[in-house]
């Protein structure tokens, strides 16, 4: 049973560029959340997608946007990259219809902005 998969694993971009990160949720999961984890910090919530709509959003600027597809996979897009966007981007999925079911995380995409 495949867990949460993310691609690519590593990415290097230049300031001002745009980036797209991809996530496939664990089999049977329909809700996808994205988190940003700076080095030495805990993950910070970016947003959550369910039924192809953004349902919750954290304190991130509009440069961060996302999408969920009918097969529940998801993309995270970041425009006009800043040096401070360098971080590990984590995707997490969860079981439908269960209150506070734990999030299952992928191994993340390491984004470096130079």
């Amino acid at each position: 049973d495949a867990g949460v998969t993310q691609s690519p694993t590593h990415l290097i971009k230049t300031r001002g560029q745009q980036v797209t990160l991809r996530c496939s949720p664990k089999s049977g999961h329909d809700t996808v959340s994205w988190y940003q984890q700076a080095l030495g910090q805990g993950p910070q919530f970016i947003f959550q997608y369910y039924e192809e709509e953004e349902r919750q959003r954290g304190n991130f600027p509009d440069r961060f946007s996302g999408h969920q597809f009918p097969n529940y996979s998801s993309e995270l897009n970041v425009n006009a990259l800043l040096l401070g966007d360098s971080a590990l981007y984590l995707c997490a999925s969860s079981t439908p219809g269960r209150t506070n079911s734990p999030l299952h995380f992928g191994n993340g995409t390491r984004l470096t902005v130079t």
Binding site: G42, Q44, F45, Q56, S93, R98, N100, L103, H104
Partner: protein, 112 residues
């Protein structure tokens, strides 16, 4: 604003030396307190969910407890393979996959 604070930031133990990690939270209407383990270069791995004060859960050498203001992760007779960063997170949502507020983690090193 929800806040989760973990202490200590880093902890070094000898193999077999038991200890506890602390997670203090300020969350209105807490619905769940989660513990995760994170190895270098990997995503967080789920360990426990606690829902109400007084609740305890155990898994191998780990035991998590919850009070109204904090949670503890007790590590009994740790082994080198327990070395990792332990993350605590709180949720006040009722829906599946509700947003988590994470602490900054405790980096645990267990020396043989």
């Amino acid at each position: 604003e929800d806040q989760v604070t973990q202490s200590p930031e880093a902890l070094r133990l000898q193999e077999g030396e038991s200890s506890s990690l602390n997670c203090s939270y300020t969350v209105s209407g807490l619905r769940g307190l989660f513990w995760y383990r994170q190895d270098p270069g990997k995503g967080p791995e789920f360990l426990f969910t606690l829902y109400s004060a007084g609740e305890e859960k155990e898994k191998e050498r780990l035991k998590a407890t919850l009070t109204k203001k904090e949670s503890f992760l007790h590590i009994t007779a740790p082994k080198p393979e327990d070395s990792a960063t332990y993350l605590c997170a709180a949720s006040r949502g009722e829906t599946s996959g509700s947003r988590l507020t994470f602490g900054e983690g405790t980096q645990l090193t267990v020396n043989p």
